[in-house]
């Protein structure tokens, strides 16, 4: 009964979303306040109904109601509660319901927090948001209904793919989807602005917090996925340049660009057209990501079995929204006037450079992701584009971005002084130089360019610290005065510095682990010793064990370093009960130098008690995910800035009265 109620709630939510998509927009068109006022309550009602539907499905999972087909296919009564809950979105139907839930959540948030928005703008934004919701709810109800029943009900479920039974992966989809879907707000604002034919600094001020929030979620979501792939898949890597990974990375790149161009628009009223286009493209890439992952057109190590018929529906959604948005853009863009002049060397100029490089990099990723599809369609040849392609294209484009990054915040708006900026960065430059020399002096292996890569990361890190130091006049004013100034800085200034610092950390981590990873593959018998990166591992043998819903074979390695015991690693090979699928659990020892990472392979039939063993040492790899967390925190700091939160109430009130396009 509860499940049917959930199904019904989703149908009602669809009806409400249809109203939300039509009435406010019509109201904005004919300037009818009553019609426009339908938007906010409709968005909130839609949220309540979708939450109801989602809870109903969650309930079916928690009580293991196997008469629901979706639960039968993806759950098992012996599964721990956390994974019974995360199983809700660990499958296609449920994850689309999560997608719609996020959509409703963001829509309702605009309705609740957007009371300062001009009435027509809010009405149009909510209408666009409603239209997107309609498309995805139809998709669920027509092609991927999670509420359909089975008769007779099976006694036991098939279980969730065991590699998904993992804490990081339980929360990876919600964050990822919050990011994807969060960009729909920027998209809706862009469409609303195009419909009204008006866009100004205030627009950017409203869009920026939403974009920032979505970007933060996506940052965390992607890095969680990467972290999971690192320790769960047992291959010692953290990024594969796999199409499914790229599908989430492209919206991130475009979203990062959007975040920066919105700053220019807010402060200087420049780059308006570009920002609107970027807002449309970012969400389009999110939609495309959903299509690529859900349609099964991709060859991917992460791909799961999919039903191609659904792809056609998503493709329809894709064409409708991207095509419609771009058509509207083409139609209306002439009515928007460019504002704010600036010199090439200026804050605006630096942000334009940021945008150029990020979007170009995004385009190269897009080409690499779609080229195999295009080639197969045209010639029938099957190819795969792997990391060499991305290292050759994406890498060189990041280089100037990172070199230029620390200069940006030191340049003044309108016209900046590069020499003055360089002077204020001298300490950062000297530090970077010293670190580079130190790395060259200490490390004698790996590619000779690698220390320069590390230097680049250090440069970004020290550069962001230099910005804070300079703004608080550290070293120029007395210390208490500097402290007072530092405390007086707006949170968004800290946010920028912290987020950029995180970028630097990530660069150091990426270069460190890519250039200096050690790997050994060998067969070990009990008592055998192996050396890697200064550690000595002694294999003590392997023994079977029983977990809550799996059996496993656990290998024990005693680890010593310079004769001192460090830790013992216990990698295992698991065989889950349902579905009966093997997984690899790596044994990882974390230290400040890097991760010692051991994987237990197959038992060797021709060696008594022997196992294939793979050992890695991944230097500095933690900095990659720590960097992402720091970037997230930077975003959080920015988001908590009063200026952003309040959203310039004065200007907003002034613009409530209908004004002609400027």
């Amino acid at each position: 009964m509860i499940v049917e109620t959930g199904h019904f709630a989703l149908v009602l939510a669809l009806a409400v979303a249809v109203l939300q998509a039509i009435l406010p927009a019509w109201g904005a068109h004919v300037r009818d306040e009553r019609l426009m006022a339908v938007g906010p309550p409709a968005a909130v009602t839609q949220l309540v109904l979708v939450v109801g539907a989602f809870l109903a499905l969650t309930y079916a999972y928690v009580v293991s109601d196997f008469s629901v087909e979706n639960v039968y296919l993806n759950s098992h009564s012996a599964k721990p509660l956390l994974y019974r809950i995360s199983g809700v979105w660990g499958n296609h139907e449920g994850s689309m319901l999560l997608w719609v839930l996020m959509l409703a959540l963001f829509g309702a948030a605009v309705a609740v927090f957007g009371h300062r928005l001009p009435q027509t703008l809010r009405a149009n934004v909510l209408a666009v948001q409603g239209a997107v919701a309609v498309a995805f709810m139809l998709f669920i109800l027509l092609t991927s209904n999670p509420f359909s029943r089975l008769a007779p009900a099976p006694a036991e479920g098939l279980g969730l793919n065991p590699i998904l039974q993992d804490p990081a992966l339980a929360f990876h989809p919600p964050f990822l989807y919050a990011g994807y879907v969060g960009f729909s707000i920027a998209f809706a604002f862009a469409i609303a602005a195009l419909i009204e034919g008006r866009v100004d600094a205030a627009w950017a001020r409203w869009v920026r917090p939403w974009t920032l929030a979505a970007w933060m979620m996506l940052t965390l979501g992607i890095s969680m996925g990467s972290w999971w792939a690192y320790y769960e898949l047992g291959w010692g890597g953290w990024w594969f340049w796999d199409p499914v990974e790229n599908a989430s990375f492209m919206p991130w790149l475009a979203g990062t660009a959007l975040l920066h161009s919105a700053v220019v628009m807010e402060k200087r009223e420049a780059l308006k057209i570009w920002t609107l286009l970027l807002a449309i493209l970012t969400f389009s890439l999110s939609l495309m990501g959903a299509f690529l992952v859900r349609s099964g057109v991709l060859t991917s190590v992460h791909a799961f079995a999919v039903d191609p018929a659904r792809g056609v529906f998503i493709l329809g959604i894709l064409v409708l929204f991207i095509g419609g948005a771009l058509a509207l853009f083409a139609l209306r863009v002439g009515e928007l006037r460019q504002g704010g002049l600036f010199a090439p060397i200026s804050r605006e100029g630096s942000l334009v450079l940021n945008n150029l490089l990020l979007t170009t990099a995004c385009a190269t990723v897009l080409v690499g992701t779609l080229y195999p599809l295009a080639l197969e369609a045209l010639t029938g040849d099957k190819i795969s584009v792997g990391s060499p392609y991305f290292n050759m294209t994406f890498g060189p484009l990041m280089l100037p971005l990172l070199v230029a990054l620390p200069f940006g915040p030191f340049l003044a708006w309108k016209r900046g002084d590069l020499v003055a900026a360089a002077q204020r960065l001298w300490l950062a430059a000297v530090t970077t130089l010293l670190v580079t020399m130190a790395v060259y002096a200490v490390v004698h292996r790996g590619p000779w360019l690698a220390p320069l890569g590390i230097a680049l990361g250090v440069w970004v890190m020290t550069g962001s610290l230099a910005e804070l130091a300079s703004r608080s006049k550290l070293g120029q004013a007395p210390l208490p005065e500097s402290w007072r100034r530092l405390k007086g800085l707006p949170r968004s200034a800290f946010g920028t510095a912290v987020a950029h610092f995180g970028v630097g950390m990530m660069v150091v981590g990426i270069i460190g682990t890519s250039a200096y990873q050690s790997e050994r593959i060998l067969v070990m018998k009990p008592g055998d010793q192996a050396e890697i990166a200064g550690y000595t591992l002694t294999f003590k043998g392997a023994a079977p064990q029983r977990g809550p819903n799996y059996r496993e074979e656990v290998g024990v390695f005693e680890v010593t370093r310079d004769g001192q015991p460090v830790t013992s690693l216990m990698p295992s090979k698991r065989l889950y009960d349902a579905p009966p699928q093997p997984t690899t659990e790596a044994g990882i020892h974390v230290s400040w130098r890097g991760d010692l990472y051991a994987v237990l392979g197959d038992a060797q039939s021709n060696t008594e008690g022997g196992y294939a063993v793979r050992l890695y040492f991944n230097p500095l790899v933690r900095l990659i995910w720590l960097g992402a967390v720091v970037m997230f925190l930077g975003g959080l700091l920015s988001l908590s800035d009063r200026r952003l939160r309040v959203g310039a109430p004065k200007r907003a009130r002034m613009q409530t009265s209908p004004m002609p396009a400027e």
């Binding site: 994850s95 791909a303 799961f304 080409v367 060499p388 991305f390 699928q581 197959d602 793979r614």
Partner: protein, 152 residues
């Protein structure tokens, strides 16, 4: 600088960057893409030894043999032609006889495929699309029951 000059600088920067990126993409696509072939393709097209490609098909039943150390030999088949593969390393969890597999590497002079990568899959029922298509072409594809709902 006048508005015109500024715009010129901007356009030049855009064009320059796009040109550079296009060059990078073209070079990278020429040098670093990897073709996918089935065992039949390999025999029919006569691929040169040393050329890097992906070989996909089913792991032939009864073909997996462990060698010295972590050396493994197995055969990849599309049921028409079969190619022997040598791989040193730890096999992915879902590697099994009779299951679909994608390996990457090159042929040695004697027609053996020296793989340095055996691709892992995440899902028991997942068949790499290339393998599925190749098997369909050879007419040996049997539908593997109801497709599992996708997961991510």
């Amino acid at each position: 600088m006048s508005r015109k000059q500024r715009r010129a600088v901007l356009i030049l920067a855009c064009v320059g960057l796009l040109g550079l990126a296009s060059l990078l993409v073209l070079f990278a696509l020429r040098d670093s893409i990897v073709f996918f072939h089935t065992p039949s393709d390999v025999v029919e097209k006569g691929i040169e030894a040393g050329q890097r490609f992906r070989l996909g098909g089913l792991v032939a039943e009864g073909s997996v043999r462990r060698g010295e150390g972590s050396l493994v030999e197995f055969a990849v088949t599309d049921t028409v032609k079969t190619i022997n593969v040598v791989y040193e390393g730890v096999l992915p969890d879902l590697f099994r006889e009779g299951q679909g597999v994608v390996t990457e590497g090159r042929l040695d002079g004697s027609g053996k495929f020296l793989a340095d990568t055996v691709l892992a899959k995440h899902d028991e029922n997942y068949m790499p699309p290339e393998v599925a298509d190749a098997l369909k072409e050879k007419g040996v594809w049997q539908h593997m029951g109801k497709p599992q709902p996708a997961t991510n």
